[in-house]
Symmetry: D2
Subunit: 447 residues, 4 copies
Amino acid sequence: MTPTAPQLDACFCPPGRPFPARRAPEDREEVLSAYRRIRALTLALVRPLAIEDYVVQACDEASPPKWHLGHTTWFFETFLLGPLTGKAPYQPAYVHLFNSYYESVGPYFPRTRRGTLSRPTVAEVLAWREAVDAEVLALAATLGHEAWEQAVAVMQWGLQHEQQHQELLLMDILANFAENPLRPAYCAPSPADVQPVDPIAWLPIPPGLHEIGYAGPEFCFDNEAPRHRVWIEPAAIAHRPVTNAEFLAFIEDGGYHNPRWWLSDGWAWVQREGRSHPRYWVPTEGGWAEMTLAGLEPLHPQRPVVHVSYFEADAYARWCGRRLPTEAEWEVAARCHPVTWGATLDDGTYHPTPPRGPQDHLLQAMGGVWEWTATPYGPYPGYRPPAGALGEYNSKFMNGQYVLRGGAAVTPAEHLRPTYRNFFHPHESWPFTGVRLAMDLDKGRAD
Amino acid sequence: MTPTAPQLDACFCPPGRPFPARRAPEDREEVLSAYRRIRALTLALVRPLAIEDYVVQACDEASPPKWHLGHTTWFFETFLLGPLTGKAPYQPAYVHLFNSYYESVGPYFPRTRRGTLSRPTVAEVLAWREAVDAEVLALAATLGHEAWEQAVAVMQWGLQHEQQHQELLLMDILANFAENPLRPAYCAPSPADVQPVDPIAWLPIPPGLHEIGYAGPEFCFDNEAPRHRVWIEPAAIAHRPVTNAEFLAFIEDGGYHNPRWWLSDGWAWVQREGRSHPRYWVPTEGGWAEMTLAGLEPLHPQRPVVHVSYFEADAYARWCGRRLPTEAEWEVAARCHPVTWGATLDDGTYHPTPPRGPQDHLLQAMGGVWEWTATPYGPYPGYRPPAGALGEYNSKFMNGQYVLRGGAAVTPAEHLRPTYRNFFHPHESWPFTGVRLAMDLDKGRAD
Amino acid sequence: MTPTAPQLDACFCPPGRPFPARRAPEDREEVLSAYRRIRALTLALVRPLAIEDYVVQACDEASPPKWHLGHTTWFFETFLLGPLTGKAPYQPAYVHLFNSYYESVGPYFPRTRRGTLSRPTVAEVLAWREAVDAEVLALAATLGHEAWEQAVAVMQWGLQHEQQHQELLLMDILANFAENPLRPAYCAPSPADVQPVDPIAWLPIPPGLHEIGYAGPEFCFDNEAPRHRVWIEPAAIAHRPVTNAEFLAFIEDGGYHNPRWWLSDGWAWVQREGRSHPRYWVPTEGGWAEMTLAGLEPLHPQRPVVHVSYFEADAYARWCGRRLPTEAEWEVAARCHPVTWGATLDDGTYHPTPPRGPQDHLLQAMGGVWEWTATPYGPYPGYRPPAGALGEYNSKFMNGQYVLRGGAAVTPAEHLRPTYRNFFHPHESWPFTGVRLAMDLDKGRAD
Amino acid sequence: MTPTAPQLDACFCPPGRPFPARRAPEDREEVLSAYRRIRALTLALVRPLAIEDYVVQACDEASPPKWHLGHTTWFFETFLLGPLTGKAPYQPAYVHLFNSYYESVGPYFPRTRRGTLSRPTVAEVLAWREAVDAEVLALAATLGHEAWEQAVAVMQWGLQHEQQHQELLLMDILANFAENPLRPAYCAPSPADVQPVDPIAWLPIPPGLHEIGYAGPEFCFDNEAPRHRVWIEPAAIAHRPVTNAEFLAFIEDGGYHNPRWWLSDGWAWVQREGRSHPRYWVPTEGGWAEMTLAGLEPLHPQRPVVHVSYFEADAYARWCGRRLPTEAEWEVAARCHPVTWGATLDDGTYHPTPPRGPQDHLLQAMGGVWEWTATPYGPYPGYRPPAGALGEYNSKFMNGQYVLRGGAAVTPAEHLRPTYRNFFHPHESWPFTGVRLAMDLDKGRAD
C-alpha cells in the first residue's frame, strides 16, 4: 500500500521546453532598458483608444484605462521615488486617487467609483507619467551601488506590476466594450480557423512526493514561495483546454438549469444573475456569437472556452464526470510533460486560439487561457509576506479566491512562469479564464 | 367669518413687472431662428469641457453631458423628423441609447448606466447633431402650411425640452465635479458680495378665490393647464429666499440632529445618508466652503441657500416656526406683488446672487433658486395628458414629487413663466433648489 | 363662466343616513365603560390565534399580534399613567420594545425586527395589559375634575388608537397567514353570493365652494382639521366600488403588462415585484382564488376588489378612461348623497361584501374597502400638530402617501366618520384598500 | 535537506486518550435504542423553551427551534420511510416547508423566511414527530435482513444529522436570545472560575508524511474520506485554546481598528458591520459582559474566547505573530499528543470552560470550542460524494468556507471524532468557534 517514496521532482523535464529565459538583470542598463520597454508597451496598448474610452468603468471589477495609466505611475512614485528622494508627490491628490488598496499608504478613492472621475484628464495623467519616468531614469543613472541594489528590487516589482496592469487594461477594455450596445472593437479579428482540434488525451501526473513553488534566483512574487513538498495521488490531466464546442454541449444539455452540477454558491449565482451561458457569449439570430477585443464575432467552436467563472468551470467538469486539477497537480504536470504555448499578449491576437499539437504535450499550458484550479488561494507552508506596504500586495487576498495557472492571450509572455499563481473569486469571469480538466486514476493502476 | 368672495384674479398685477414677453412665433423664420439660437446655446454650454468631462456620471440622478447632447438630438429625430419624413434613424442603436424614458418609443438604456458608455464618441454625437439640425432646417423650409402647423408644435416643445436640458447640463456638470476630489471649476467665480441683505419682510397673499394655471395663447407644458380656481386662506410669503447665513443658524442649532423638525421620511434620509449640511457645503479648516460651478468657494453668507432637498427646506421652515408656501399661494403671490429676477443662465454666474431690492417686492421670485412648495406634484383639475408619446413627458411622474416654482441661476430666462411647474423628489438636491418661507395669518386679522 | 358662489356646504344631506352617532362622553362612567369595552374587543380579536400566531411578522409592514397587544398598552402607560402618576414603567425594557415611532419618547426597537422577539411571552404581555388596565381604571375613578379633563383627552385618543390597532391586527394576521403555504384561516368563510351587482351609476358632485374637514365637538384626529373651503370642479363619482369581476377584465386585457396605464413609479414597482394581480389573488387550477381571513376562497366576482395598491387603483382607473376622486370630492359626495355602509369589523365577515342598493346612493362609502383618493396626504390649510409627543402621531407622515377614505370590513364602525383620513404609501396593499372611480364632467354641462 | 521519509502515522498515540468508543451497532436493538435515545434528547433540549421561543429567527443564519424539530423528522420521513414504504408524506406541504436545501428533493421554503411561519404549530410538529418515530420503530422491527442493511445506513446518517441539529438548536437559541434586549436565559449559569490558566505551551507537530482522514469501519461523513497522505512541514501547535483575557489584549491594542492584521475581506467585514469585539461580548458599565445560554454574564477571563469569526481568529493570530493550524496539522497533532476533552453538550454547561491540564497535552482538542483551521473546506483527494440526494449533504458546500476541528460545548460527545470536519464561512460567528494557534518551526531545527 505504502509506495516507495519517490525521488523529489525526479520526473523527466524535457530539455528545450519553451519556458522563457528569465535571468537576473546583470547590469543597470539592462534594467533601465526593461523599464523603458515595459512602460512604453503600456502606452502602445492604449493607443487604439478614443479619449472617451480611457474614462469609463462599465462594471465594478474593471477600472478605467486612465486609472491604470495613473496607478502604475503612482506605484513608482510611491514605492521608488518617494523613499529614495524624499520629494513630495507630483500632485498630492493623486496619492489618494491612484492608490488601489494599500491601507498602509493611506485612504484610497473607492474602487467602484473610478469611472466617475473626468479629471485628471488623460493628458494630465500622461504628463505625470512622463515626469515620473524621466525622474526614475535620471535617478537610476546616478545611484550608488547600495542604493541601486535597493532600487532594483522595487523596480523589478514595479515592472511585474506594470505587466499585470497591461493584462488588466485589455480585460477592462473588453469589459467596457462588451457592455456597450454598439459593440466596439479594439483590434482586428483573427482569421477563422475551422479545422477540428484533437479529442482530449489524458496525460498522467506522476504520483508521489513532489516539490512545487519557486526557488530560483530570479524574480518571483512572494506568493510563489517557499518551494515546498506536496504529495500527489494518481491522476491525469487533459492535454488541452476545453473548447467552445465542448462547452456548448453542456449548455445544450441544460447544464445551466440543473442544480445537480453546481456548487451551492454557484447555483445561487446562476439564479441571481440569470446566467445561461459564458459572460461574453451572445445569442443572435445566426447562432451564438462572442464578444471579443475584435468586436462581436461568430463563436469559433475550436477555440478554448474563455471568460467562464470557477462556478461554470467546476459545473462543466462535474457534468463531464471529471474535475479541475489542483494547483500542485497542474504545476507538476507542467514540469513533467512538454508544454506548448498558446497566444500571449505579444502575439496581438488578444484571444486564445485553437489548441493544436502533439497529444503527449500539455497544449497551451502557458498562454491561451488562465486555467482554474480546484485549489483555494492561500499561503504556501512557511510563507511570509514582504515587510512594509508591499506585504499587502498578495497576502491579504488569501481568502475566498481560487488559484489559476498558466497565463492568457492578454498576458505578456515574459511575465509568465510555471510557478505563477493568479487568483480570482469563483464568480469572476471578466479575466480570460478557461478550463483544463483532470481526473483521478485508480490507485491500483497508478501506483 | 366668511369673506366676501373676491373677484377672481382681481389682485393688482403691476404693469412693467419683468416677465419675459413670450409671443407665439409669427412666422416660420422666427421659429427657425429660435431653433438655431437654442441649439447653438447648448453647444456653447459644453465648450468649456474637456472630452473626459462629457462622459462621466458621478451620481445616479445626473447624466453625462454627452448623453444630453445626444438625447436632445434624439428628441427632434424621433418626434419631428421620423413622423414627417418616414426615414430610418441616423443610427438605429441611438434610438435605444438616447431614449430617456418613453416606454411607447421602445426599450431604453438604463439611466444609471449612461456613464458606462464611451461610444459613440463626442465627435460622433456632434456629427449626428449636425446632421439632424441640417435636416430639420432644410425640411422646415419646404413644408406646406398644414404640415408646418403640425411641425411647429413639436419644434416648440423640442426647444423647451432643449432648454430644460441646458439646465440639466449645468446641474450634472456640477454634480460630477463635486464628486471629484480635484474640485474642478467650470467657470470663473463671481466677485464676493459681503453687504448684508435685508431681513425677511412678509408680503400678504390675498385670501379668497383665485385662478392659477396657464391660459394664454403661447406655449406652456401640459401640466400647467387647465387654468382653474383655488381657494386661498389668509397667509403671507417671505419677500426673499432664505440665505446661507440663515440656514447656517439651523445647522448650528443642531437642526440635523433633532428629529423634531423632520418629516419621518426626511429623518430616515438624514440618518441613512449621514447628512449634516446641504449637499455641496464642505467643512474646511477655514470654515464652510461651497462647491459651485466656479469650483470650491468660501460660503457666501448673503447668497440664497441652494441645493437643499425638500426634507431640508421643510425642516428648516419648521425650525423657524414657518412653513413652505403651496404652489397656489406662490403663483398668486407672484401675480399680486412686483417680482424681481434673480440670476438666470443668461447671466453666466451659474449661481444665485444675494437677494436685494425693495421690501415690498417678491425678490428673485423668477430665477435665483427653484423654490420648494409644499404641494405634491399632481394633475390640475381637468388635466388631460397629450396624446401619443409626449403624454409620457410629464404625467407619469405625478407621484412622489413636490412642485418647485420660479427658476434658477442655471435656467434660461426665456424658458420661465410664473405658471411653470418644476418637480423633484423630496430627497433630491442636485438641482438648484432653495427655500422661500410662508406663514399662516390669523384668520380674524387677514379677513 | 363664473358660477354663482354656492352656499357653503349647502348640499342636501338626507336625514337618516347612517353615520354613527358620536357624542362626547358625558360622564366619566361612559368613558370608562368605553375603555373596558374597547380594550376587551382587542382581546376578543386575538382569541382565535394559536400562541405561535402572536409572534411572527411575515412582511416588513405588518407587526406581530403580540406587539399590537403590547404597543396599545404602552400607549396608555406612556401617555396617560406616566404623566399622571409619575411612576416608573412596569418593565423598563418595554418602553423601548413597544414604542412604535415616537422619537421624542426615546429610541425604539426597529420595526422590521419585531418578529424576532420571542420574549416577553404572550402571557407576560397580557399580564402587563391587565396591570395597566387595572391601574387606569382605578386612577380614573379617583381623579379630580381638572386632572380628569386632561386624562379624558388622552384616553379618547388612546381608544381611537386602540381601534386603529384592531384593524391593523386583522390586516397583519392576514398578511402573516397569506405568506404561509398552509394558508391558515382566522375565521369561517361567508356564504357565497352570486347575484350580480348593478352596473356603476354616476352621481354628480355639486361643483363650487365647499367646506371639508371636521368641525364638530367630538373627537377627531388632528389631521382632519381645520375645516376649510375648497373649490370643486364639475365631476361625478361612482355609486359603488369596483368589483373583482371588473378588475379581472383589466388583467385579462394585459393591464399589468402595458406601461401605458401606469405611473412611472408604479410601472417600476410592477416590474421590480413581478406583480400581475392583486396581492392576495392566487391563480389555481380551478381559476382565481383569493386569500382572505377565512382562508383561501374562490374569487367572488361580485365582491369589491380589495388589497390593491394606489398604483393598481390608478392604473385601473386610467384603463377605464376614469380617474380616482380627490379627497375633497369624496367628502363632498359623501355629504351630498345618501350613504350605505359596507361591512365593518362589527359584522365579523372580515371581508367586503357585494355592493348592492339604490343606484342613487353612495354604496358602501362607509365600511367595505378603504377607497384610494388621488390626493397626496398633507396638512389642511392652517393645520397645526398637537403639542408634545402626540404631534408625531400624524404630522410627520405627511409625505409620500395618499389619502384613503371610508373605512373597511376590518374597521370598527364607531371609529369611522366621513372626515376620517387614512393614508398609505402608493405601493402598499396589505390594508383593505379598494377603488371607487370618478370622472370629470364637461364644464358647460355641469355649470 | 530531504528528510528520511517517516513512517506513515507512526507517531505515538498514547493509549487511554479519551476518544469515544464508537463501534458499529452490532444488532438491531442497539440501533433502535440509539434512535430512541437521540430523538428523545432533541425533545429534552427544547423543554426549557416557551412556545414563542420555538417560532422566531433573529438572524438569517439561525433557524427557529420548531423548524429543527420538523426538519429532523422530515429527514427520516424523506430518506427512510418514503423509500422503504412508498407511502405519501404525513402532510404534503411539510415536504416543502422542512426541506433545508436538497434541490433533488424539490423546491424548498426560503431559509431566511423560516421565522415567518406560525403554522404548523409546535403541537402539530410534535405530533408529526411522534407519528414518524412510531412508524420508524415499527418498520425497523419487521424489516428483512437485506432491507435492514439498507435502512441502518440511512438511520445512522439520520441520527448523526439529528445530533448536528442538536448543536444547531443551541446555537440558534443563543442567537435568538442574544438579539432580544431582555436577554433571556436558557439555562443556569456555571459557577465562576477565577483561577488562572497556564500560559500557552507549544507542542511540536511531527514533520513528514502522514495520513489523515477517516478509514475505520464505523460511521463517518463522506467528507472525512478517503484517508490520504499529506506532507507536514515543521510546526508547533498551542496546547490550549486562546482565552478571553488574551483576546481582550488584542482589542485593547486597537486590533479592530488596524487593517494591518486583517485579510482584505475581513477588514471590509469589520468596517461594514461595525465590529469592535466578538459577537456576543457586550460592553457594560461594569466592564465586558458576554451573552451566553445562561444569559448575560460577566466576561470570564479564563474561558476560551468563543463566537469569533475566521476573520477575527486569523487577525488575532497575525497580531500574535502566529497563525492558525492547517487541518492536517490539527489532525496529526491530535493523533500524536494526548488529548483532553472540553465541555460537550452532555455536560450541560453549554459554554466552554477554562482549559486546564498537563502542558504536554492538547487541552480541549475535543469539545470546548470549534477550532478554526487555515484550510479552506474542499474535497480530499479521491473524494466522491454519495449517490442520490445525500450527495448534496456536504459536497455542494465545498466553496468559500473554512474547516473547523474538535467540537464544542454544545456538541454531543458521541458525535465527535478527530477526523470530523465542520465548516463555516469566514464571517460566521454564531457557532461556538474559537482559536488555537500554531507556528512554523525553523526547518533546520525541526528536521
